[in-house]
Amino acid sequence: MPDQSAFTALFPVKDENVKPLQALLNAVGQNITKEREVLMDKVEGLLPSTLRQPGGRCFLEFHKLTTVHFLRWVLLEPALDAEGKRIDASLAFATDYDGPLNAHIDELIETAGPALEAIFSFCDPAPATGALRSYLLEAQRSYEAFYRGHPGRSVQQIWGDSNNSEEELRKALGKGLDGSPQPATSEDAVARLRRAVGQSGWKSASTAGEPQKPSLGSRSLWLSVGAILLLFAILAPSWFLRCAVASVVALILLILLVGSWGTILNLLDRRDQTRERRVLDRQGPPPDPDGSEDPYVSDRSRRRLMIVTDLENRRGLIQNQMTHVVNVKPGKMRLRTLRIVLWAINFLGSRIFVQGKLGDIPTIHFARWILIDDNRRLLFFSNYDFSWESYLGDFIDLASDGLTGIWCNTTFFPQTRIPAWMIIPRALRLVLSTQSRTGNQSATRLFEQGARREQEFKKWTRDHQVPTQVWYSAYPLLSVVNVNNSTDIARGLFAPHSGAELGAWLRKL
């Protein structure tokens, strides 16, 4: 079964359409009902007259989408890039979906075609009638990095209303346990649970999409690498010596390369800082489509911040979203660094952190970074659990290195001095301390400042957040930890357990 993927598309919007589109998106976002649909009468007045559908009851029926985990529309208002040049408004549309892209797009058009047409009719160009498919696909943008918190699980498997979802199974098992009397032994409990499931008619969903085990994680791997090296040293000492010398030389070269790269970035940074202030001073805030005086680039007004915060935790305390847009610092060097770091994050995210944690953060369903506007801006979408405050706290406490590595290449980021010559040695130490699990990880960090400047980093993040007008989640009541835990429950139900494993499995219920 094809895995979860990310679809992102961007559409230009003319200045005069910014306000009406904003109004429509706000109305859609505010009026998603408990039944996960948007009624026609809530938005009718905001649609272009040619696209009104008299008699239609529903504008958008999210509940009919079977391939969508998360979906959002975000209007990016006109802005200025790092050098003070204008960036036109655009509309971003993004989904985290299951299966082949074609089937996903087909489903979107089938279930929400008219609504999509109505929304995109404010873009430039608007979709031609009947050409929505190619319209969407042509506007698609590729991401630099994409992270999934519960890879391999389809929406149906996680939540579907059918009897097959892992959440339904967990609930059925819970009911089985809640009846009295309490089971006396582990074996009792399991027997009762298996019976309860038999009765509930739960059918195991596909076992595809097993998360791969992280390859770096196992101690035995390191041991076997060590053993091979040792064998090599004994059997062919001269070759071993040559290889050893070669790797030391390679390591020194790497340190020199990364070190000088970092040193140049540090030098550039000083220039960039003064330039950023100058651009701000000279240009002032960019034109604001609604004519009010909001300063746009940094230090947003309270009103704007309130709009962002009021959109948070709108559907309860469990899930949340963030859209963040920031200018990339000028120069090829920055862009290249950004690409390399994001490539590395993407690699780690898809190969290493496949057990529901990015770095150590166990609360991110999906996140992606995309370079937009001819690589002048970096766009970040995230679907995460709980509050902004806890999310940012996790960023700072558990993932500051990666985030500093990315965002130090963007404007107004809290000052970061790259410890150029120490990056590689520190990275090595970091890898070793993660492997040994005994090392004090908090003591080993690549960067000292940047995102570690707690208050400044939080303020910077807020300054560059953009309201997510429409946000939809298919399973708003589940956290990442829940989803992964429920999978473990489902997998373990009919698996043979040894005594200790059985105890661990029962604790997941």
Binding site: R170, G174, L177, D178, S180, P181, Q182, P183, A184, T185, S186, D188, A189, R302, R303, L305, M306, I307, T309, D310, E312, N313, R314, G316, L317, I318, D360, D385, F386, S387, E389, S390, G393, I396, D397, N440, Q441, S442, R452, R453, E454, Q455, L477, S479, V481, N482, N485, G503, L506, R507, L509
Partner: protein
């Protein structure tokens, strides 16, 4: 001159409430005030500054202290007294906006009967885009709070009278007075004195507190290594857990108006004592726990204060005020899975200590970034005079207004108080759970609320848990250093 402790913490400038909860002063009242005549109010503040109890070093007149007086101000209060916009803008957003924005109501769970629109006092609900400043005004505007503590009722009345007599001629209007009550339990301390203070559900309160680095350790023992938090976690002007100056009106060296101040969070929390014990009695019936045992599982301590993680089978009089424990890495009976003290119990959620993730040492560090100092007191007559749980359980509903005037101190309201209430108490997913808000103070955020007790071979859950605590009022205050109060008094 400011008197510094050994570590440079300026004890003589810090209000004593930061250092102690005044257990020896069981009578207390809080008076909410509005400034009506600015020059006169300032003159009054100048005089008041000399009467405020400082946090001066240990041993200081503990036995013969008869009373203590403290002052806190809201953002509107600072504004009314003419603090410059430049200084005001340096205060953190949470304090400037107040407790009752749409965003904070969601995070704190202030919905339905608890929503700010229904509060008896405090911030009025704040509409987004309400006006340019986005500020919330109350009517009458809440500006100041006087906190008065005394060794007994008559002393308190005397002080209150002397203060109130002055108020009328001092350009201040009294909005309301919030009285408190000291609840003693049926058991006795190892010292033989009555066990307390208790809160209305019948549990000993006011035990666990973090220790502020650089402050003298509390009366009852030495600071526990894992329980010490950097000075700047509570006080402005000192480095916090990230090695930075907390946000507020101080300069990079920590000097300025904000120095030695802290933020005081006040929530009037109504407690449904009959509802609580009814639920517990009903649920306990068939799952192998007695009602008091189940209630103790919800709190994480036995009614007399004994921590469950230390003594899961019953209270021990020597452990009543015990605070020197961790969960996952407990020295004699580690409890990583909550078999002794449930993961979802009130005290394990509001301070998970070493059990936040798989790494106990790192957990302790992370937990300590969200600590608060609690200074609340109960109010309203107890349902049963001696707070005996079995009698509480048998008592019938009297619909009396009783609860907790919850007060806590912290330097970063959003990272400390709001975080604890939101992420650890209200969040039904805490610790990997599914539908479990904090059984005492949590808020329903889904279809149902349950309470889960982890045990062998498999957990049991208690369903349909209602909300036992409702919010009746509240506000964010600034508890300034004593010099800052003088500054307020002399401002032009």
């Amino acid at each position: 001159m400011r008197l510094s402790g050994a570590s440079g913490v300026e004890l003589s400038d810090i209000q004593g409430l930061v250092q102690r909860g005044y257990k020896e002063l069981p009578a207390a009242e809080y008076i909410l005030l509005q400034v009506t005549d600015v020059p006169r109010a300032r003159a009054w503040l100048s005089k008041l500054a000399d009467r405020i109890e400082p946090a001066t070093a240990t041993g200081h007149d503990k036995a013969d202290r008869a009373s203590a007086l403290h002052l806190a101000l809201t953002y509107q209060g600072l504004q009314a007294l003419g603090v410059s916009k430049e200084l005001l803008d340096k205060f953190p957003l949470a304090f400037r906006e107040g407790m009752a924005t749409l965003h904070r109501e969601r995070l704190l769970g202030d919905r339905g009967a608890s929503s700010a629109a229904n509060w008896r006092w405090g911030s009025a609900p704040c509409q987004p885009n309400a006006d340019e400043e986005g500020l919330c005004e109350t009517d009458p505007a809440l500006h100041l709070m006087l906190l008065m503590y005394a060794k007994d009722g008559p002393t308190l009345s005397r002080i209150k009278k002397s203060v109130l007599d002055e108020l009328d001629i001092s350009g201040l209007h009294t909005i309301t007075g919030l009285d408190t009550v000291f609840l003693a339990g049926p058991e006795c301390d190892p010292t033989g004195s009555p066990n307390g203070p208790k809160e209305h559900f019948g549990f000993r309160d006011g035990i666990a507190q973090p220790h502020i680095a650089g402050m003298p350790s509390r009366e009852d023992g030495h600071a526990i290594p894992g329980n010490i938090i950097p000075t700047g976690e509570i006080l402005l002007g000192y480095a916090n857990a990230y090695g930075e100056m907390p946000e507020g009106p101080t300069d990079a060296n920590g000097q300025g108006f904000g120095r030695n101040g802290t933020f005081l969070v006040f929530r009037q929390l109504h407690q449904d004592v009959v509802g609580f014990w009814n639920y517990v009695a009903r649920q306990a019936a068939d799952k192998g726990y007695g009602p008091v045992e189940l209630a103790a599982k919800m709190v994480g301590r036995w009614p007399d204060g004994t921590p469950l993680v230390e003594s899961p089978t019953g209270p021990k009089s020597t452990l009543q005020t015990h605070d020197r424990f961790v969960y996952a890495g407990h020295h004699s009976h580690p409890d990583p899975f909550g078999l002794h003290c449930p993961i979802g119990s009130h005290i394990r959620r509001t301070n998970p200590r070493d059990s936040l993730n798989e790494d106990p040492q790192r957990s302790l560090e992370l937990s300590n970034q969200h600590r608060i100092i609690r200074r609340g007191r109960s109010y309203g007559t107890p349902l049963v005079a001696d707070m005996d749980p079995t009698k509480l359980m048998a008592a019938s509903e009297d619909h009396a207004e009783r609860g907790l005037h919850f007060i806590c101190l912290n330097a970063a309201i959003d990272r400390q108080f709001e975080f604890v209430q939101n992420l650890w108490a209200n969040n039904p997913k805490f610790g990997g759970l599914y539908d479990d808000p904090d059984p005492l103070i949590g808020v329903l955020d889904g279809e149902r609320a349950t309470f889960t007790v982890q045990k062998d071979p498999v957990r049991c859950t208690y369903a349909d848990m209602p909300r036992f605590v409702q919010v009746r009022g509240g506000a964010y205050f600034f508890l300034p250093g004593i010099t800052a109060i003088r500054t307020l008094g002399t401002m032009k």
